[in-house]
């Protein structure tokens, strides 16, 4: 049995979500059609809208389904003309959507520097985008504090919650975000569906134009099976939040053991508030790419940086923003746990990681204990 520890890239579909997808696939019907086939599919979409809204404490009418987190981020960032600020550790889909955006610095732990944000908030800033939790390090941003500062200056706050939703409890009203991005496949739903959740009263210019779907906010026939699966996954994820909190024990076990095996490892963002499932482990002198491939040969899947940029050999922009030099930013892997992860997975990872680290003539003192 192989060990999959790349849940931040994508996580297996929850069985309940798979059933919801399969049920919807078995039915014909376009939710915009007024006949019975259409009305039944419309109901599936509306039910999912409620459960997704519940997961983030939003009102159902604010949930606009999209093709995924990337589309939702692009929509949010492009909908408002005027100057935009984004944190230096945002996902590429936020950075790429507005390459003209100002970059809010983060500290060595990857947390947004609030004073710097306040200084950058000039009058022409219309929108600020800061993620709730980082995909590479799991570091959680103080969104409620950021929202207060942003709103004091009359700007809007968008929050990419793709990695946080389903892993930690979250409430959009408590966060104070005006727009929130979600992705189904990061929380046990299918690929190809996500949402931009709008606070009541906010009406951004659409990105995709055409038919009047999603109250004229997002054109295109709704991905009904995907949306139904998203709804089921959101419900299951909400029910299992206490279990998700326990992933931190497995994550901590990994970090304790790799540190014991090799004292010069560095866990990035370890002193900040983090998601319970993510660990960004730097090992000097071995590139992340090499580590990923050598662990893969041992049947363990992790990643170097985010999945989107794999293939590229560029050092992580997240670690660079945290002040790491280029080598350090290249030498990290991301280990991300999920709902299928067991203690055995942790043991297999630690064993494979130990062999890799010692096989390169490193952690000499530990070699015997690993063998």
């Amino acid at each position: 049995m192989d060990t999959y520890l790349d849940h931040n890239a994508t996580t297996p579909v929850r069985p309940e979500a798979a059933v919801a997808v399969a049920d919807a696939l078995a039915r014909a019907g376009n939710p915009s059609s007024t006949h019975r086939f259409g009305r039944l599919t419309r109901r599936a979409v509306d039910d999912a809208r409620e459960t997704v809204a519940d997961l983030v404490g939003a009102v159902p009418a604010g949930v606009v389904f999209t093709s995924g987190g990337t589309e939702a981020n692009n929509w949010a960032l492009r909908a408002f003309p005027g100057h935009v600020l984004v944190s230096a550790v945002e996902h590429d889909s936020v950075r790429g959507a507005r390459t003209d955006a100002g970059r809010i610095p983060v500290d060595a732990e990857g947390v947004v520097v609030l004073d710097a944000l306040a200084d950058m908030l000039s009058e022409d800033v219309r929108l600020v985008s800061v993620m709730l939790a980082n995909n590479e390090t799991g570091v959680i941003q103080p969104i409620a504090d950021i929202a207060s500062i942003v709103h004091e200056h009359g700007a809007l706050l968008h929050c990419d919650a793709v990695q946080a939703a389903g892993k930690i409890p979250l409430s959009m009203p408590e966060l104070g975000a005006d727009m929130l991005t979600l992705s189904a496949h990061k929380l046990g739903g299918p690929l190809g569906v996500g949402a931009l959740v709008l606070r009541p009263g906010l009406d951004p210019e659409p990105l995709l134009r055409g038919g009047g779907q999603e109250r004229r906010r997002r054109a295109g026939t709704e991905n009904v099976p995907g949306i139904a699966g998203f709804g089921a996954a959101a419900r299951i994820a909400a029910e299992h939040l206490p279990e998700a909190a326990q992933w931190a024990h497995l994550r901590d076990a990994i970090e304790t053991q790799v540190r014991a095996l090799c004292p010069d490892v560095r866990v990035h963002g370890a002193d900040a508030a983090r998601l319970p499932n993510t660990s960004c482990i730097g090992l000097p002198d071995l590139t992340g790419e090499f580590q990923v491939m050598s662990l893969d040969l041992a049947g363990v899947a992790v990643s170097a940086g985010s999945a989107c940029s794999s293939g590229k050999i560029a050092p992580s922009h997240v670690l660079a923003a945290m002040g790491c030099d280029e080598d350090t930013a290249r030498n990290a892997i991301r280990v991300s746990l999920g709902w299928t992860t067991t203690r055995d997975d942790v043991a297999r990872f630690v064993e494979a990681w130990g062999r890799m680290a010692s096989g390169q003539g490193r952690a000499q003192g530990e070699r015997r204990s690993v063998a």
């Binding site: 297996p12 039915r27 569906v193 995709l208 055409g210 038919g211 709704e222 991905n223």
Partner: protein, 394 residues
């Protein structure tokens, strides 16, 4: 009321059911093999990446393209938005023209994309169609000028099913040096498409109109000569930078399977549907001699019929026959009460447009269903004409 409706589904231009073979191909990708297709450094990701590339080959094969010319999207609306806004924004940015030519009967998302571009400084010419729904090609040629960037003409209309002369328009566009985009959402899998023979530069495909699921589509983007686009969704740089976002592996696999099936079966299935449609039209005509047909009688896809019954209120007709699912206009605009802009463009007045229904036959439509549907439709017409609806009479 729970579970699947038992009614007869004749609304295949709105959406098609998923073919069981497509379902079998995609379902394992939800759970057994779930990797991120961009995580190619580990085995899970590589397996997913291999599957998406195989699917890309199959989509390309359906339209005579190369695999690397296929960009996966979330559906035809996104494909149309990317093709039109992408091409025109590229031209606007680099000063290569700002004029678009399109047709009055295009899908809403094409017309809306053009409207969005008009706000950004583009100029839009909308060419009309004849009473048969076919585009006026000489008028189209006249509309193209030195400033024209793109011509967008749909392959098959979603309401009346007429097939536009793509090869003729393609040759015209190539000769004039402008890009030719065609929305083939209603055409793929129903008529033969060949981007080389038709000289198409950009072509949109929808999954759920060809027995794959909703939420997936594709855009063909010609490489030689290259059609240049500005991406609308940026980020991880997937799909050669033209469409960022994690590929939905099960959906992409499903689209590939659906295209392969369509490629193998288009001719046979078309012949079968033509027999059924001819039978349906004959039955309806026999019962309702004053029936009128909207759109060209022959140059239309075999699965489409669009007919009107003088004096009838089509919305009320639909309500009176809940066992037969047909539509008035396109699904996207079904909730609107105004008459179809497509039928209006053919020259129908409000009354005749409001008396028309679209009947969409598909892969699983049977001879028995056609016979039953013809009776039900005709009975509902009779009941309405007898004063009061069938339902009210119950």
């Amino acid at each position: 009321m729970t579970g699947a409706p038992t009614a007869i589904y004749l609304d295949h231009q709105a959406t098609t059911p998923v073919d069981p073979r497509v379902l079998d191909a995609m379902l394992p990708w939800f759970s057994e093999t779930f990797g991120n297709a961009h995580s190619t450094q580990h085995a899970w990701g590589q397996q997913a990446a291999d599957a998406t590339e195989a699917a890309r080959e199959r989509v390309a094969a359906l339209i005579g393209a190369q695999a690397r010319e296929i960009v996966f999207t979330s559906g035809a609306t996104e494909s149309n938005n990317l093709a039109i806004k992408g091409a025109v924004r590229f031209a606007l940015r680099y000063g290569r023209g700002r004029h678009i030519v399109t047709v009055a009967t295009e899908h809403k998302c094409v017309l809306e994309a053009c409207a969005a571009l008009a706000e950004e400084g583009a100029r839009v010419s909308v060419v009309g169609v004849g009473p048969d729904g076919l585009v006026d090609v000489p008028a189209l040629a006249d509309a193209i000028d030195d400033d024209t960037v793109l011509v967008s003409v749909m392959a098959v209309n979603n309401e009346i099913g007429v097939v536009q002369p793509l090869a003729e328009i393609g040759a015209l566009c190539r000769a004039r040096g402008v890009l030719f985009h065609t929305d083939a959402a209603q055409a793929a899998g129903k008529i033969a498409l060949d981007v080389e023979a038709m000289q198409v530069d950009l072509l949109s495909i929808s999954g759920h109109k060809l027995y794959a699921p909703k939420g997936v589509g594709a855009l063909y983007v010609r490489r030689r000569p290259r059609a240049r686009l500005l991406a609308e969704i940026s980020g991880g740089g997937q799909e050669r930078g033209l469409r960022s976002g994690t590929l939905a592996v099960p959906l992409v696999v499903a689209l590939g399977e659906a295209c392969a099936i369509a490629h193998a079966e288009t001719d046979r299935e078309g012949a079968r549907l033509l027999v059924l449609r001819t039978d349906l039209l004959e039955r309806l005509r026999a019962a309702q001699p004053d029936l009128f047909l909207n759109g060209h009688g022959e140059l239309r896809v075999p699965g489409n019929l669009n007919v009107g019954f003088p004096g009838i209120d089509a919305e009320a007709l639909m309500a009176d026959m809940p066992e037969v699912a047909v539509s008035t206009g396109s699904a996207c605009t079904s909730a609107l009460v105004e008459p179809s802009y497509v039928l209006r463009a053919l020259g129908l007045d409000d009354e005749r447009a409001g008396a028309s229904i679209r009947i969409g036959l598909g892969r699983f439509t049977t001879r028995e269903e056609i016979a039953t549907a013809a009776e039900m439709i005709s009975a509902a017409v009779n009941a309405q004409r007898a004063g009061g609806s069938a339902r009210a009479a119950e």
